[in-house]
């Protein structure tokens, strides 16, 4: 079941992506309404992070296009924010919590210029929102996993964007942090921001999200949670391995498949 919407804030049209030649997403076609709190779910290796990364332009597309606010990403960058996976950076980097959150202001600053007082205020406010104001001067390696995740969230908040993409913000965080984060996300959604989250835990899906994207190498479903979160679609997403699809992908990776340009 794929529900398309009028005037979507995010529109993905027939998107295909390959990693190292191996196709990991086939023909994804969906649209998301403004203000939704969206969960992307699917089994391991379903292409959840890939979808977000390709929307953010971090991975080249094989085919299709992505529109945000009915425009290309480059025209609306300042309205789009991104929270990468926590493990994607080296937390031993010599930086304080404040330094990291300030990075969320960089695109407003542009090249060459330094953060000003207004930026520091915005960063401090973002830290308050995630309950980390006391940690502003703390070195990032001294934070717990949950605190690191909050810092990443604060960095995105400091950007004051309208649409947020988050790659597994609940991975490896304690229950208290998870609760705090979901509360922030719900507040954001109520304030009209669109939040799109890669999520792993099926238990909490119905509680957390009002819209779901179900993936397994291709789009299984996209629609309001109460309409798509059912056994039949879950079975389709998680059950029965798509052996044929995987095998074809493998052939392409092994370059036994003539005619694919990398």
């Amino acid at each position: 079941m794929i529900q398309q919407v009028q005037n979507p804030i995010l529109e993905i049209h027939d998107l295909s992506v390959s990693y190292d030649r191996k196709p990991v997403l086939w023909g994804v076609d969906l649209s998301i309404p403004k203000g939704a709190l969206v969960g992307i779910i699917g089994p391991n290796g379903a292409g959840k992070s890939t979808l977000i990364k390709s929307i953010m332009g971090l991975i080249p597309l094989n085919g299709g296009y992505v529109k945000l606010f009915d425009k290309d990403l480059d025209d609306v960058r300042e309205k789009v924010s991104y929270v990468p996976q926590r493990e994607s950076v080296d937390w031993d980097f010599p930086a304080s919590v404040m330094d990291v959150v300030l990075m969320g202001r960089y695109n407003k600053l542009g090249l060459f210029s330094r953060p000003r007082k207004a930026d520091r205020d915005a960063a401090r406010f973002a830290l308050e929102q995630v309950g980390m104001q006391e940690f502003a001067k703390r070195q990032i390696s001294q934070l717990s996993g949950g605190q690191q995740q909050r810092v990443f969230l604060a960095r995105a908040l400091a950007q004051q964007a309208d649409i947020y993409f988050m790659d597994e913000p609940f991975a490896g965080v304690d229950a208290a942090t998870e609760k705090a984060i979901i509360k922030i996300l719900k507040d954001m959604s109520e304030a009209g921001k669109t939040v799109i989250v890669v999520h792993h835990d099926l238990q909490s899906v119905a509680k957390y999200f009002d819209w779901l994207i179900m993936l397994n190498l291709r789009l299984v479903a996209s629609g309001p949670t109460d309409k798509v979160f059912n056994e039949k679609l879950l079975e389709e997403a998680y059950g029965g391995k798509l052996t044929l699809l995987t095998e074809v992908g493998q052939l392409i990776k092994q370059e036994k498949f003539p005619g694919i340009e990398k």
Binding site: A95, Y106, L111
Partner: protein, 429 residues
């Protein structure tokens, strides 16, 4: 002392060049090196240093003279290509980065050596001096060349100053940088260019092999002293400057001594000292801290034992010999002795006629540990549903870790229980 004065008052004009040259090169490569270090690309400098050799030789072959500007351009081109080669190999084959790095490094250097020997044997009169790139010759930093190198260094420093925020971002989190629309590719390009430039000018002073040290070692040393990037960069620059000065001075005092290797030697000594002795991160500091913790645990265990013995006997004032103590818990004699003496110094134990006795302060401390041990056992059986015969070992560790704040929470959570899972009484004040 005379030589010292002679050196630093620049009685010979050449000293001035060599000294400022060495410092400038060391400082600029140290600063650029901080970013390559943080990007985990420390060995890129090593590759580029080897790969500039064919460029230098080719530009000499093409232009027929040693104009440093041409040499720098040649060096710059092949230095760049070597990085592109690594990148290409990693992306297009199954070979890993380390192999690609070593491959690019050795092949480019091989080509360089082949060309260099070819030039030497062909007997071109102007060729003398090209070898100075191999081992470096800080003394060659004179006059007009010096101005060229100085301006490149200054340009380097300005670029880092202006793009500090951007370089930090791409070193810490490239994906985020790209996501918020920073020209990550372009910035990487600039950073690589700066690295190549730093190598091209630094190689004059220290030579092909040791150039890597000028980039990596100051950054590595500085990282051990601070968690702040700006401080780290400033420290790295200072370390670079100190080693540049020291190298120039040593080769002035002992003219047979090469400047470049001495610069590297000094910076390496600074780095090794930092690795071992830097506060907080140093190896020695960490070892000492581990020992302190070990001692602390030992002492707490001794007090705990005294308390338990007192509990059993219903009398806390009996003096006990070392043998009696070891009977209760098999401490090693040497450890027990030192633990007892430390506790005596702190007033937790007293000693009369080789009999040890616990003071009331000691009793309080011992009681707390016993209490924590038993509370934790109870916590594990109640909340984690662990069998009572499996909780002791865990509690043996945790009892030393629990802070007063956690202690209060634990007491409250369990509601000040009377007995632990083994039906032993939990002692409160």
């Amino acid at each position: 002392m005379d030589t010292f004065i002679e050196f630093f008052t620049f009685q010979y004009p050449n000293i001035k060049y060599v000294l400022f040259g060495s410092i400038l090169l060391a400082v600029s490569s140290a600063i650029v090196g901080c970013f390559t270090f943080l990007k985990k690309k420390a060995l890129v400098g090593d590759v580029v240093a080897h790969a500039v050799l064919p460029g230098i030789c080719l530009s000499f072959l093409l232009t027929g003279n040693k104009n440093p500007l041409y040499l720098i351009i040649g060096a710059f081109i092949t230095g760049w290509i070597s990085i592109v080669v690594i990148d290409g190999i990693v992306r297009k084959t199954k070979l890993k980065e380390d192999t690609a790095t070593g491959l690019s490094l050795s092949v480019f250097f091989g080509i360089g050596i082949l060309l260099l020997t070819f030039i030497q044997k062909s007997g071109n009169a102007a060729q003398s001096g090209l070898e100075s790139f191999l081992f470096g010759k800080a003394a060659a930093l004179v006059g007009a060349d010096m101005w060229l190198f100085a301006s490149v260094s200054v340009a380097l420093l300005i670029a880092v100053f202006l793009l500090f925020k951007e370089f930090t971002l791409i070193s810490f989190d490239q994906n985020f940088g790209a996501a918020i629309g920073f020209p990550v590719k372009g910035l990487n390009l600039i950073l690589t260019t700066l690295t190549v430039l730093a190598v091209v000018i630094g190689i004059q002073a220290v030579g092909v092999v040791l150039m890597a040290a000028m980039l990596i070692t100051p950054a590595a040393a500085a990282r051990f002293w601070t968690d702040d990037l700006k401080t780290m960069i400033i420290l790295a620059a200072i370390f670079g400057a100190v080693s540049g000065t020291a190298g120039a001075y040593i080769s002035f005092v002992a003219p047979s001594m090469p400047t470049g290797p001495w610069i590297v030697m000094v910076i390496s000594i600074i780095a090794l000292t930092s690795f071992f002795f830097a506060p907080k991160k140093g190896i020695l500091y960490k070892a000492l801290k581990r020992r302190r913790i070990k001692n602390l645990i030992l002492q707490e265990n001794i007090l705990k034992m005294f308390f338990q013995l007192g509990e059993e006997a219903g009398d806390f004032n009996t003096g006990r010999s070392v043998l009696e103590l070891q009977d209760k818990r098999p401490f090693r004699t040497k450890e027990l002795d030192s633990g007892l003496k430390r506790l005596q110094l702190q007033g937790y134990l007293t000693n009369q006629n080789d009999k040890w006795q616990i003071t009331s302060e000691g009793q309080n401390k011992g009681r707390r540990i016993v209490k924590l041990h038993r509370l934790w056992e109870l916590y594990l059986t109640t909340y984690l549903r662990i069998a009572p015969d499996h909780v002791h070992e865990d509690a043996e560790k945790i009892e030393h870790i629990i802070t007063p704040e956690l202690e209060a929470r634990l007491e409250k959570l369990l509601d000040y229980p009377e007995l632990d899972p083994h039906q032993s009484k939990i002692p409160y004040q």
